[in-house]
């Protein structure tokens, strides 16, 4: 018996993408909540970079020790990249706050789109598996 979903590269990658997109959305929520907080600096991380390192980490995972052939490997949970570098081009206001409403709004919908893309791709993969199982059981 093998795990039909964790053996699937697409589902695994999109799983990471879902996690990272929702994490990034939390950063955007924080930036928008602190729109008027003096001295607050924009928090963000590179979605592409984080996904890339998550996927690369998947290829050579720090695997769990398994003492039995039936043990699950367990997916390596990608830890959030901690860097929250200040954005260079952002003009800082008089109160030391550098949140840009337009940038955050744009990122909000873009990240939402990325999340929905990833979830749709997972759904497509699962539908393929479902059709496969249904075809097999029909005969």
């Amino acid at each position: 018996m093998f795990d039909i979903t964790s053996g699937n590269k697409m589902i695994q990658t999109m799983d990471q993408a879902l996690t990272l997109a929702s994490k990034r959305q939390a950063f955007i929520a924080s930036n928008l909540a602190n729109l008027d907080t003096p001295g607050y600096r924009t928090k963000d991380f590179s979605f592409e970079g984080a996904l890339k390192s998550a996927v690369e980490g998947q290829i050579s995972p720090t695997s769990l020790t398994t003492t039995h052939a039936m043990h699950l490997q367990g997916s390596t949970s990608s830890s959030l990249p901690a860097s929250t570098d200040a954005l260079k081009p952002n003009a800082e206001r008089n109160d030391g706050n550098d949140v840009n409403l337009d940038r955050e709004n744009m990122l909000l919908s873009r990240t939402q789109g990325a999340y929905q893309n990833a979830s749709t791709l997972i759904q497509v993969e699962l539908r393929k598996l479902y059709l496969l199982i249904r075809e097999a059981s029909a005969h």
Partner: protein
């Protein structure tokens, strides 16, 4: 679960902006008030924002926002020459609150835009949660 984090962060932003609108409403309502409990005309009140620790790990440690305090403006009162007014001084000059309606309107617009930005975050988080649930609908 990051979707819950997103909603928590956005709700602190909404609460902070709502209190700010309440203060603006008080300022506009009292723009002609010459008698207060503390004595003298009404003084303009303004919210001071500060970031808030919601107990999230890593870079999201200070993700929320809170009202650190309400600042009472010490700017000079507006004066008008109204000798018949019961609160006029011996020279016939009445001190009116240091509320500038134009400033209040600008702040009101800013606060409601910031509130809307937080609403947009909530809406995005809801759409993401829905699309994640859609993964279950394979057939």
């Amino acid at each position: 679960m990051s979707i819950k984090q997103i909603l928590d962060i956005a709700s602190t932003g909404m609460a902070a902006q709502r209190l700010r609108v309440q203060l603006i409403a008080a300022n506009i309502a009292n723009s002609e008030t010459t008698r207060t409990k503390e004595g003298g005309p009404y003084r303009r009140k303004d919210a001071v924002f500060a970031s808030k620790d919601l107990g999230f790990a890593g870079a999201l440690a200070n993700a929320g926002v809170r009202i650190a305090g309400v600042k009472t403006s010490q700017e000079p009162f507006l004066t008008r020459f109204e000798p018949g007014h019961p609160d006029a001084d011996p020279d016939g000059v009445v001190s009116y609150p240091n509320v500038n309606p134009v400033e209040e309107m600008v702040n009101l617009t800013e606060a409601s835009r910031a509130y809307e930005a937080n609403i947009a975050v909530v809406r995005a988080a809801k759409a993401m949660a829905t699309s994640a649930l859609d993964i279950l609908r394979v057939q």
